[in-house]
Symmetry: D3
Subunit: 223 residues, 6 copies
């Protein structure tokens, strides 16, 4: 039952780069308000903004053996995504694993569990989005799987899907939708720019979006 | 049932300014240890310290339509305060709404739900105290109310009440008590200064506050 | 039942210093993956790394009287460690108490409850690891005890034990084990350095730790 | 600051009885989907369904002194409602206090904290809705207030408001709205009966409520 | 983006029945320790044990419109499975919807949100596994989807998958694996029976499973 | 580091029986309001009331191997007490282990993690107090220890300590204090009986305990 899928398809690097520039909130909106991981997934330091192809890890609680297995599967531009098979906040990952992952092209880690050595990771510029920071160590006794579909923080993630992460959290875009989502995100960014200028000038969303008639029809009263 | 109260009374701007300078902990103590919002209300970036008059929003879960309605009610120096009608951590508010709110004089947002675009909000200097950071989008389908009394993070907030927020969280002062609270806060700050000097010099609180007899009377034993 | 133990034994200052340099994750590993306080114990600002002898406080919920009592028991290099007798997130500790504690040699506070005045504490360089930040005030009505064994955030802490705290959280080392743990930590740090270089050069943990045969024996399949 | 309001107005007993028969969900809907206390407020045993006038208690964390004070204020048909001034799950209330409260006409307790002796309370038929069951004891050292407005589990409750509680949780109806709410609840119950029969016969809500055109207009597609 | 898939494939009724008899823990083990929904999914009353084909619902927070749409898609022996698009504990479902669902053959509801009218549902014998019990009402304003893949309480559920639920919680079996899982579950039940007799007679698991050599090899010491 | 302590001392069976009859709240009060495990420890069925000597288990997250080891250490009248080394809600224990434990005299299980097969356990009359009910299975790969001191749900438990558990939760009494606590509990029960009669007759606690002067002295005002 424990497998490593070695040949995964990834999205076009230019598409991944575009999604990363768009950022989490825009990608989420561009794909129809879907794909956000749960809000408990927080960055260990502010300011990182990445996108990459998911190398997924399904790991037992308190056992980080499969991280070593997954690192061999990394290609340049990938992101490690780990979900424990039952809730766990132990520290699966620290500076040694980050050193190894970076040497294999990894852009960051998304983990619905704990991470440690966060000061070192910050100094190394290796970003992590996690449920917890915890020094609690793990063992290497029980197998899991790599590059199988997982549910991480409430979202299905398949190997090769595109993970986008920034200070707002993490969103996943299906690999096969990535190009269309990137295009929709770009349009959305352009449309926002015009709105931002009007709003900054003091125009109200009530007027820009013509909300007043619909609010009145729904029964809103001013008193 | 969905209303917007358009004419709210606010506290004296000088009083609001004094409360803002005193900060959350001092205002809370000055009004008899009342008014603190729940400790899950955290700032999106450190260092902001504000006070302002509450423009309140009662909004359905996952629906930010009323934020647009509320922005029209803002006056210079106000603070938006939003409570969802049932628990929700979606991202009701981002950089476009902040742009609009700032253009109408808003000093910040207090929201018992989620906020997004936090990197942009930080760059804009628009402070937010929230339950969560979340890119999860919202809809504009169901009415709520503006400037009605709400319960936000465990505290009653009425339109025109003074919200004070800093790195310690958020406290609310009733509009009609604001002046007295500001005066009490000022006295407290002055009294603290003398104590701080004595404590820094190594005097013990046990002696400064004459606690030893009462501790002994209660039965404290040194062994 | 309320007592203050006045004569506590402490570990050797050189050992404490060595543990502080090793940091939380290394100390935790060096003593057999034990001693981590729960991951909800977070620092109020990043970058602090301390070690010190525990002066323990058992305090009722919402009552910080015993903190004053404990401060008299501090010696240079100590750390205050407070556990409430039932769960509480009120702000037991602020800048005045920190001023007093610093004047008596205190290196920081570990508290399974709330702390306030965090901006001031940050400016003073007084580090705190806590369950919450909260301005909610406390009273001085009910006794507790000082320097008795407590359970703080899931770990037993006895007076004189060594607390180590950094961005990864907090770990406790038994006073009588501290010297052996420090030695084990030092060995571990040296061993890690060699591994770090190999991993940075692209060698895989799978090979460095010779994991492949054992993974195969357990049944891992590559597909 | 610590007061006991001794003369509170209550709603008409017939109205209270009607609200109790309607139950929590119906009362909540009848007053425009407002008033539900947070869903962590659970009954200690199934099957109780009560309504009564609120005698409110604001109490410090871990201190149940004010419960004794409140019991003197009870009149036949009242419900005790307690909110701690900061989050606390200690057991404020047990079988002795229940014996006393019942002797003074109390119908039950709503407490955003802990309760104990739940087996005895069950045997006595004294219902409680609480955040927790906990044997953790409390002290009698610090004042609070009785019959002041409180926020309990996210809802404002004023003395004399009507609390309705059953297996679905707890809802509060403003005293001055109680009669109108009871009338609206009665209408709602009658309307539901007809719908229930049609639904039981297999008719679809889609047809009974004529939802299909609006679903289609919003864009729902069947594939 | 809002769709209803009308033609879903279901597992063989005899297989579903066998999975229901095996129960949650056995099914979970039989499919390699996978498929358990999160442990916050609790039954509203003890003793129910069901299995059925999933009719899935993706619904916005606080909006139960899609439940009406889903009921039309029910066939005899189905189970409704609802996941909100962001965390929500409002009461999406009550006795009227249960009446309707039962009239269309529904065996129960699995909902990662709230449910209400639990006393009525208990009397009707309509079992529900939910995150919360809450009377908080919902609206019918925003579309969702029916019979699309959802993540419910941490597990991927696709329309037609088999949900098994009892007092231990909920597990999902992939439709195409259901037959093999049922066979494995049956074997497991038979094997357990022999072990149960030996354990009841006082034999130790240490001996039955021959654990002593492996424990010794790992280093376990008796002192 | 993984050990099994085979020779533990237990309290006098008559004392244990007396503590069990007194129940959790009374024992907690009789030992100075100490020893309650956290309130998330709930019974899987109502009505059980037990006391027994602790056989303690320290187990890795998601690994129940040590339960088998511990069962061999059971003597008639013991209670198993398990704490995971990092937070975990997986189902460590089910009906087979309960069958084995009962065959060796075990009175129940206290576990700060999950339990499964709760319907069978209820039918067998094997009571469990746990953090969660969960069918999630565990492995047998990593050692832990038996009969070492553990922290379970916030309380230190040593092998041979007396665990008392009922519908109010769980309390631990130190083995060497057990006799004195049982005596104090007995006195408390007798004193309560007289108070109960007076309270039932309508006398107020305010008068029975002579609280009025102290309330007035603290400043309580009736308005």
């Amino acid at each position: 039952m424990s497998i490593v899928v070695t040949n995964i398809r990834r999205a076009d690097p230019a598409v991944i780069e575009a999604l990363g520039k768009a950022g989490v909130a825009t990608v989420h909106e561009a794909q129809g308000r879907t794909g956000c991981l749960a809000s408990h997934m927080r960055p260990i330091y502010p300011g990182a903004q990445i996108a990459g192809s998911a190398v997924t890890i399904s790991a037992p609680p308190g056992d980080n053996w499969m991280v070593h297995v997954a690192i061999e599967q990394l290609r340049d531009g990938d992101v490690l995504v780990l979900a424990p098979t039952s809730p766990c906040d132990a520290g699966y990952f620290g500076d040694l694993l980050a050193t190894s992952a970076m040497a294999h092209g990894c852009r960051g880690l998304v983990i619905d569990a704990g991470v440690r050595d966060v000061r070192d990771l910050t100094a190394m510029g290796f970003p992590v989005w996690s449920r917890a920071v915890s020094a609690q160590g793990t063992v290497k006794e029980t197998l899991g799987s790599v590059n199988v579909p997982i549910v991480c923080a409430g979202q299905l993630v398949e190997a090769g899907d595109v993970l986008v992460a920034d200070d707002d959290g993490v969103v996943v875009a299906r690999r096969d939708d990535a190009e269309a989502v990137a295009a929709a995100a770009q349009k959305r960014l352009e449309a926002e720019e015009a709105k931002r200028r009007r709003l900054a000038a003091g125009e109200l969303g009530l007027d820009i979006y013509d909300m007043r008639p619909r609010l009145a029809a729904k029964g809103l009263k001013y008193v």
